[in-house]
Symmetry: C2
Subunit: 603 residues, 2 copies
Amino acid sequence: MFISGCMLQYALLHLAGYDSVQTEDLKQFRQWGSRTPGHPENFETPGVEVTTGPLGQGIANAVGLAVAEANLAARFNKPDAKIVDHYTYCILGDGCNMEGISNEAASLAGHWGLGKLICFYDDNHISIDGDTEIAFTESVDKRFDALGWHTIWVQNGNNDYDAIRAAIEEAKSVTDKPTMIKVTTTIGFGSPNKANSYAVHGAALGTKEVDATRANLDWNYEPFFVPEEVKSHWSKHIDLGAKLESDWDASLEEYSQKYPEEAAEFKQLISLELPENWASSLPEFTPADAGDATRNLSQRCLNALARTLPGLIGGSADLASSNMTLMKMFGDFQKNTPGERNVRFGVREQAMGAICNGILLHRSGLIPYCATFFIFTDYLRAAMRISALSEAGVIYVMTHDSIGLGEDGPTHQPIEHLASFRAMPQMLMFRPADGNETSGAYKVAVLNRTVPSTLALSRQKLPNLEGTSIDNVALGGYTLSCNATDNKPDLILLATGSELEIAAKAAELIRAEGKTVRVVSFVCWELYEQQSAEYKESVLPKAVTARVSIEAGSTFGWERYVGLKGKAIGVDHFGASAPANILYKEFGLTVENLVAKSKEVMA
Amino acid sequence: MFISGCMLQYALLHLAGYDSVQTEDLKQFRQWGSRTPGHPENFETPGVEVTTGPLGQGIANAVGLAVAEANLAARFNKPDAKIVDHYTYCILGDGCNMEGISNEAASLAGHWGLGKLICFYDDNHISIDGDTEIAFTESVDKRFDALGWHTIWVQNGNNDYDAIRAAIEEAKSVTDKPTMIKVTTTIGFGSPNKANSYAVHGAALGTKEVDATRANLDWNYEPFFVPEEVKSHWSKHIDLGAKLESDWDASLEEYSQKYPEEAAEFKQLISLELPENWASSLPEFTPADAGDATRNLSQRCLNALARTLPGLIGGSADLASSNMTLMKMFGDFQKNTPGERNVRFGVREQAMGAICNGILLHRSGLIPYCATFFIFTDYLRAAMRISALSEAGVIYVMTHDSIGLGEDGPTHQPIEHLASFRAMPQMLMFRPADGNETSGAYKVAVLNRTVPSTLALSRQKLPNLEGTSIDNVALGGYTLSCNATDNKPDLILLATGSELEIAAKAAELIRAEGKTVRVVSFVCWELYEQQSAEYKESVLPKAVTARVSIEAGSTFGWERYVGLKGKAIGVDHFGASAPANILYKEFGLTVENLVAKSKEVMA
């Protein structure tokens, strides 16, 4: 596995014989429709395994790739058959090392003793603003030592290839710690006037300096020309790679003979198909079933799925007992028990998301989930966005989803978070209302292996409602109840999650006064938007403009469904610290207020 | 200065004689309307200087407080008069140390050599999920050593007060490095059955264990009773504090006599009032002035304000030359030049925001700004939210505000970011269209010392438009041009930033066909929302439903202004890597498309 940035990565893919990057592709660097966009993206260019660009994500991705390898190796390798056995290589620069996410990821890698993770720190002393002396004077080696890594220093990384080779060998010999090889280099090596300067970081050398560099390096070939000597050296890797692949195929065949059961599971995983009947394990509910917090219902789902999905692996950022994310039949993924599937991320939300991206993009069928309080998506948002962009179906289990968490107060109460994810492309944002909707959210989330899902789950207990179902969730928005005989109710109430119960109760009261009322659950806006115009008209008929939404979060965006004549009840401030029931009352998230507002829009 | 968490902090304030926390307040912990919310918040409780809750923010705040002290001390102290001279104390736990933001902040503190910053690491080996052995086995001391800190270990932090006192003295004696005092403690010390367990982290002890703890500690007083001995010990600090204050007042008086000019500036700063005529320095433009990127116009504003605002201090996360944030008349705030005002944050976005919160909440009149690419607000969002919650008017200078940045591609192109901040309470989100709007955004941002502002600024050049003005920005949304003689134009076009030019051009074309068209600039939604219903009707008359918005970002939320009969042109996907003009064309952000959509809504 190999992670790096920009043109270098494309050039290496090209030299290594990837059809995906031809000479013509290299010439189209950063152009419309090319396979060589400004930053390598896994969904654009075969051979690119993770999406690069935002600093620090790469090393956390690499930790995730190494976690996937360690987990699968522990589960499937046998003393006489290693079918999972590879290193993860990563290059990181000064900028990556400044980012907090990289320290989080490195701390976990050290804790887990990921011996097959080998990182090269390109120590060139230059970042975009100039010499790193202006902002980065810590001792990176000593920090990695403190984090439990093995560290090596290659003093001349410009052309001391033997030292680099020796460092890699040494790194491989240390099996109980990840290795960080500090490679001191000169940025723009070979450029007589711009080497060792920030001028070569993000800008082209320019014709004149390119000529000077060619002269300096004695490089007399045309642009994009690969000399035969280089080509033949690199092309050896094509045959070598093919042989490695066929050897591995043969060893998997042998493994299948000896260990048919394990092989079946392994092949199922790497097929990237879900096992048959996996979804049948999800619990279903009726209104007679006792109510529960959706975070607890989520734990039932995770534990049910753990039995039918051998790929499920995940955990929480030090909130397992609040997020309810432990799979009870498994132990912890730790240095000495890497085959287990409960991951303890510590209070490292940012790295957690990016590590899950790495686990998923290992593309071996693992289905990572991770958890914290919904408010702390603010910490891992960059990684969540990379999930969406990278087509990585990570499942984000986000509990304590509103002011309903109560006493912890404004620093812990999500307000704008639902809206902020609804605005993000390629992210499914669920806010289930009860048991069936929680199961339904998991069903969609697991099915969507190339789209991440975020589940906002309640701390507080919620009843199982009449009219919910697992399958309805896939519609995104659906009619929970309606007493109109045609598609023209007097009023439409829209709600999600914990407020769906309020809407259902308000509807009863208004119906008792002789009105026709429809209650619509908007559990996942993105799925609703994918429905046909006809379906949407059947749920939200254009002719009915008396609409009120209620949701314990920002009202931002609800105009899409309530229109300019409707009303949106929500929380457009930072909340407060008090018991949840008091907050609901004080902030007008009540049946009474919903009835009152409904009467206003019907007037 | 003192930073800590929850009940302990309230109890200390109470003992220290703060009127704000009476016995009755302590009894109302976590209750509606109390001064003792679940997490101490600076806007609720006098004596609380920063808002706590999200882990890792505290140490970064502390670094900001220490930066403010160092900057002001260097600028105003004289060999014979130290008017700025205090330590910043911070307590951080295992969880804080796991967060990446704390490593970023600590790395900067070490780099800057903040000798008057003293942090206590409460090394109790317990976090919410249990023993830190499960996720946190790095050597924290060694890491801080590597970051350039002085480190001290107090082995028995439970009751070896002499060792703690000695550690503080040692820390004070080290003046060129911040100090981290690792204080090994037992969580729940004194509780016979729950000490050293995660059970005492977030939950109450329970009556039985409280009784057992009282017996164990031989504590025979009623709840909330403070024995006379304790009271008299603590009350000494009231007189001591009063004396320190009057001494300082006297020394400031002396300073004012000796150094009247410096004293005038210092008093101006700490008055928290803005100097007279500060805003007159902001540049004004006419359509005849050459167009420019709003990031460049922003630099003109910052450099103009730097001359009239002695409190302005700030910088970028290693993108100063892209964000255009250098104040050219100043040098860098560095270890040996702490009186300078350009701050080099390195690639540490999260700490940058939280450090700015600390600088501002030092409440000495400093006006911090910080910068990165708009997309990387994903990294510092948690700190930005704390700015909003804490009533800290930090100015966030966010350039490369859309797909208009071009070749860097999807990982660098903000899409949902405008919507995500518009949904956040107490945050002003500006997207200026030209020179006047950029100046206007700065004017509002500087005026709002208790509300943070985010400015989304273009990489690409934009023309100065007819109809913009500095003062119009304060209205949030205003009519740029309208050829209707009444308040009933045939069409309203709404736009922000770089797309306002497109709207103006489209309006011209449609007007040429005999229609009346109004163009509205929506530079800051939050300010528009604050206007009167009458004003709003004058801009967006209810009777006119033919409305089209255009903005190079998510259309999410635009229904608020275009209604269900209008249309929103935007970018509801992740963009692409290519030159900006090609992206605008491919994604339909064109005059032609706006004209076409306008005709549809008018039909």
